[in-house]
């Protein structure tokens, strides 16, 4: 098993933390993992992306030019990464902030109304967890139990009361993928 994933959007959308939870979940599932961020000096705004590789064999390069799966949160990232999904790969995106939908027909394109779902959940900070849920379902990546353990490792203990909300958001994301 080897999954090469890019998650890309604006800084502040939770791109890096989503990748971090995914990486921790991979660690909990005894996989080899790399988490390689790329972002500017800004804390908010600007583009941010993270490459996460999950593999049952040692990983050579943490930097890639082709991905099995892309999770796209804004138009700039779609423009940059649509062409870099491997043929037969998967592209997950939120149509909320996209003006030009993906055009490729040789990959599986999955629109996920994550922003809409945050309104239902009543918490905009669940955005990245909804997309994580969608990714886990679409690619059948990791067992639930590993993801929750990953969340526990990533969140500082003072935030552990938020784990049920995050779990709810992940489930919501799973439901959004048919």
């Amino acid at each position: 098993m080897k999954e090469e994933i890019i998650i890309a959007g604006f800084g502040g959308q939770g791109v890096l933390s989503m990748g971090k939870i995914l990486a921790y979940a991979g660690l909990m599932d005894n996989l080899e993992v790399t988490w390689m961020p790329a972002y500017g000096p800004e804390q908010r705004g600007g583009t941010a992306n993270v490459t996460v590789i999950l593999s049952d064999e040692p990983i050579s390069s943490p930097v890639l030019d082709k991905y099995d799966t892309a999770v796209i949160l804004n138009q700039q990232s779609l423009d940059k990464f649509e062409s870099k999904v491997k043929p037969g790969g998967t592209l997950i995106y939120d149509p909320y902030s996209i003006h030009h939908a993906p055009e490729r027909t040789d990959i599986t394109v999955i629109p996920v109304e994550a922003m809409e779902a945050t309104f239902e959940l009543g918490n905009s900070k669940t955005y990245n967890m909804i997309l994580l849920g969608a990714l886990l379902k679409a690619r059948n990546l990791l067992p639930d139990e590993a993801v929750i353990r990953g969340l526990k490792k990533t969140l500082p203990e003072r935030h552990h009361h938020l784990i049920p909300l995050n779990q709810q958001a992940i489930d919501k994301g799973r439901d959004l993928v048919k």
Binding site: V33, T34, W35, M36, S61, D65, K66, K153
Partner: protein, 363 residues
């Protein structure tokens, strides 16, 4: 068995420092290595091992605190990134001249000048050819993984005491910022004053019942003894060069071409090599683990086997000079690099290789 953890290379440096029994860390924040100081401050090792962690008022102050700690026989270290390491060069030269152990970590970013915060390897010349003034060398270790970031802290401080010379971990922003699995080194206690007195008879830690005073200095105005000091340094460097050069080879057994790359870009090159091998092109990788001393003998040996060498570096072509010296200009040696913080991907490296050696494809 030790727990497997997931962390950034910079965080691994900090945790390894505490576990290695380091007595003092003196630093000043700069991206992309600020997590070293941040992690140490969060861990508060002064409450557990007694390790001192101090944010100095500047890089110059930090390196001189290292100089002072090292003179007292303490295991001390500092870390910074390229512009900050430039500021430390005077102190590094003094520490080398005074024959003191110390560990310096440079998580390189794009330069020259203040440059960018993105990864680079443009400080190769500075690290391996001097950096500060005078005839001196550092032992330079080049980590390519978070595991090596942790391991080289222990190996680095031990080498620095073995040879009484400063050691540099020359990392880049990729290994500093990326997260992957790591098993941290086991805890070992800091040395007691008695142990320091016994193991470091040169340390300036109070005269005690010794007959003489230990004086640590890099100053010697009389040229005759200063030349003797230099000869002693050169003898040390000769011993280091004979014993400590290290490299790792991948797919070199049947290689017809060779890529030489260090640090993170070596791993990106390895992915390119795996893709080229699928195309039937027999390329191997040599990754220098020590940049000084340089693995000249291994490259010389492989230069008799392969038809050409490509060096891949995050700079304008620095290590290529050492590779050319090793290959003695008997085969073509080309360079591919990106500068200013740009990190090439595996596809770009394959393209660069095929542009340098188009004949490799036809075989």
């Amino acid at each position: 068995m030790e727990e497997v953890k997931l962390m950034k290379g910079n965080e691994a440096i900090a945790h390894a420092a505490i576990r290695a029994g380091i007595d003092g860390y003196f630093g000043y924040p700069i991206t992309p290595q600020s997590e070293v100081l941040e992690t140490l401050e969060a861990e508060m090792p002064w409450r557990t091992t007694g390790m001192v962690v101090l944010q100095a008022e500047s890089e110059v102050a930090a390196i001189n605190m290292v100089y002072g700690g090292a003179a007292a026989g303490k295991a001390v270290m500092t870390s910074s990134s390229s512009p900050g390491i430039s500021l430390k060069q005077e102190g590094i030269s003094y520490i080398a001249a005074a024959e003191l152990p110390a560990l310096i970590v440079n998580v390189m970013r794009g330069g020259p000048g203040l440059g960018t915060i993105q990864p680079s390897q443009a400080d190769y010349f500075q690290a391996t050819k001097g950096g500060g003034h005078g005839d001196y060398h550092l032992i330079v270790l080049s980590p390519a993984s978070v595991q090596e970031m942790a391991d080289f802290v222990v190996e680095g401080i031990d080498l620095s005491f073995k040879y009484r010379t400063p050691v540099m971990i020359l990392a880049d922003g990729v290994v500093g910022q990326m997260m992957e699995k790591v098993v941290l080194p086991p805890f070992r206690p800091r040395r007691t004053d008695e142990q320091v007195r016994e193991q470091c008879p040169w340390a300036a830690m109070g005269k005690g019942d010794r007959k003489h005073r230990n004086i640590v200095t890099s100053l010697e105005l009389d040229p005759a003894p200063m030349e003797v000091n230099n000869e002693r340094l050169q003898a040390t460097y000769k011993r280091i060069a004979e014993n400590e050069a290290r490299c790792k080879e991948f797919y070199t057994d049947d290689a017809e071409y060779l890529i030489v790359a260090f640090g993170s870009i070596a791993r990106i090159s390895l992915k390119a090599i795996e893709e080229m091998r699928e195309m039937g092109i027999k390329v191997g990788l040599l990754r220098p683990v020590t940049l000084w001393p340089f693995p000249t003998k291994e490259i010389e040996r492989l230069s008799k086997q392969v038809k050409g060498i490509l060096t891949v570096e995050l700079n304008a072509g620095q290590m290529i000079e050492d590779v050319k010296l090793a290959a003695e200009c008997k085969i073509p040696v080309h360079h591919f690099g990106r500068m200013g913080g740009i990190v090439p991907n595996p596809g770009e490296i394959t393209h660069a290789f095929l542009s340098a050696f188009p004949e490799a494809k036809q075989n």
